[in-house]
């Protein structure tokens, strides 16, 4: 059975950023209109950007977390915008920000239905508890990602550090599922 190329969409990219200077969070929260800062609840400033759509958690140590980017490029762009904004209000960032992609989440569809019972027996490191969650949770070792497989043939890849990991994982799981005969055309 020649299955169609699985369609993959990256849904979320999370990156950590090191700006290299300490940041005065009170200054940031006062100067930036969009900033949310409630130290009792969370020790960082939260800033949501519209373009590109991303959210930042800024900490006083000069480290940030960028979430909600749709691609790696999105994250870089968002970080640059954020750094510009911070410099504008007088936070002197001299170093080039260190950006590390921490997590990537993608959704994909194999285009065929998956028999989850068969999959849960034949694969290693899987959890299938239909009482609690309708999908199979598959912890793949290499690349080290977690896949959620659903009966409809759609799946979610989480925990990838690179785009290539996502593609590799989907390709691999497709092959594995086909090998154990748990795929079926609709």
């Amino acid at each position: 059975m020649e299955s169609a190329e699985p369609s993959i969409t990256i849904q979320n990219v999370v990156a950590s950023v090191d700006l290299g200077t300490k940041i005065d969070l009170i200054l940031v929260s006062k100067q930036l209109e969009k900033a949310e800062y409630t130290p009792e609840q969370f020790p960082g400033v939260i800033v949501r950007l519209k373009e590109p759509k991303a959210a930042f958690l800024i900490f006083s140590t000069g480290k940030m977390v960028c979430t909600g980017g749709k691609s790696e490029e999105d994250v870089y762009e968002a970080v640059n915008t954020m750094v510009d904004m911070l410099n504008e209000i007088g936070v002197g960032i001299t170093q080039e920000p260190q950006i590390t992609i921490q997590n990537m989440v993608a959704s994909a569809s194999l285009g065929v239905e998956i028999n989850l019972e068969v999959a849960s027996f034949a694969l290693d490191n899987v959890i299938y508890e239909p009482e609690q969650f309708p999908g199979v949770i598959y912890r793949m070792r290499d690349p080290k990602v977690v896949l959620l497989l659903f009966g409809s043939g759609k799946l979610v890849v989480a925990g990838a550090k690179e785009k290539e990991d996502v593609y590799l994982a989907v390709e691999k799981v497709n092959e594995e599922l086909e090998a154990i005969g748990s795929l079926r055309t609709r």
Partner: protein, 322 residues
């Protein structure tokens, strides 16, 4: 075929034991069976009698009622994992007489009263044992609430003990792990109890979530794999709760088998699928129960019953007269 022959042989002998070691000298099969009626060791595969005149390890006496049994038995009750000391404790008798049946002197009686009191106090030696006793009584309480059979209780207690041994309780609540062990034992013995039902009787603060988490954790750490719940296991219970006939039950099971073949159960909650199958069967055989009734006994919503019902009818092309 071989499976059938094996079952046949098992049914014939009183207490068959399949010995894993040794093997048949003729065909090499290691499926041997002890036939206690003939006192022979037989190979299931080729029928060779390997040993004759086996020793009978049973008691040499017979008892015809409980009174005789009590008189003749020289041993106590079997050990059980459901008690913190496995039921192997020695107790000071409550009677104030010596072995000849003579009464004690008042002084001696006072002494024994004191000894008894102290025995009660030190029966649980340390904190570990006290926790174990607590967990086991919790297991006992939950399983009687859910009216679970003894083998499940025993198995749950064993799982809990293993978890303690491997130090898996650390950082988890005793009640949570006990409930998880009970859930695992239910799944293992195919005695259907949903996580919800267990969470209802368990004294666990975060309820279902915590029990589910502990369940997955002990399954992983103790390396036990339990297949996903089959909806069919719920059918007998729901059938009797709805006062439906055996025909309806058989029909529902048939529907579920068909559905499983077509992969309609994959990714669906087993209770919901079971409820829908039972509903369809009841309608087909003119013993109709309302969707609300079915939903109530299976503890899913009516919407779930309706959705699963639509799916099953459509995909299995069932002819439903309404």
């Amino acid at each position: 075929m071989e499976e059938l022959a094996k079952r046949d042989a098992m049914a014939k002998s009183r207490d068959p034991i399949i010995l894993p070691s040794g093997g048949c000298s003729e065909c090499g099969s290691n499926k041997l069976i002890k036939d206690h009626e003939r006192a022979e060791l037989i190979c299931i595969n080729c029928g060779l009698v390997i040993k004759e005149r086996l020793m009978d390890m049973g008691p040499e006496w017979r008892a015809f009622d409980s009174e005789q049994k009590e008189k003749r038995a020289r041993v106590g009750a079997p050990i059980t994992y459901t008690l913190h000391d496995k039921g192997l404790s020695t107790l000071i008798d409550w009677r104030n007489t010596d072995s000849y049946g003579n009464d004690f002197t008042p002084r001696r009686r006072a002494q024994l009263y004191r000894l008894r009191k102290w025995q009660r106090r030190i029966r649980v030696a340390d904190a570990t044992e006290r926790n174990l006793a607590l967990a086991l009584s919790e297991l006992d309480r939950m399983s009687s609430h859910l009216s679970l059979p003894r083998n499940v209780k025993e198995s749950a207690a064993l799982l809990y003990r293993k978890a303690v041994e491997k130090r898996l309780i650390r950082g988890r609540s005793i009640e949570g792990v006990a409930a998880a062990a009970l859930y695992a034992a239910c799944r293992r013995y195919k005695v259907p109890r949903t996580l919800n039902e267990i969470a209802e009787v368990a004294h666990v603060t975060k309820g279902k979530k915590e029990i589910g988490r502990s369940y997955r954790f002990i399954c992983r750490e103790l390396k036990i794999s339990i297949p996903p719940t089959n909806p069919i296991t719920y059918i007998p219970r729901f059938t009797s709760e709805l006062n439906l006939s055996g025909e309806v039950q058989a029909k529902a099971i048939q529907i579920l088998k068909e559905a499983a073949k077509k992969g309609l159960t994959s990714g669906r909650g087993p209770t919901g699928v079971a409820a829908a199958a039972l509903y369809i069967a009841s309608v087909m055989l003119n013993e109709r129960r309302t969707q609300i009734d079915v939903a109530r006994v299976s503890k899913v919503t009516e919407v779930t019953v309706r959705n699963r019902y639509k799916e099953l009818v459509q995909k299995l092309e069932l002819d439903i007269p309404i």
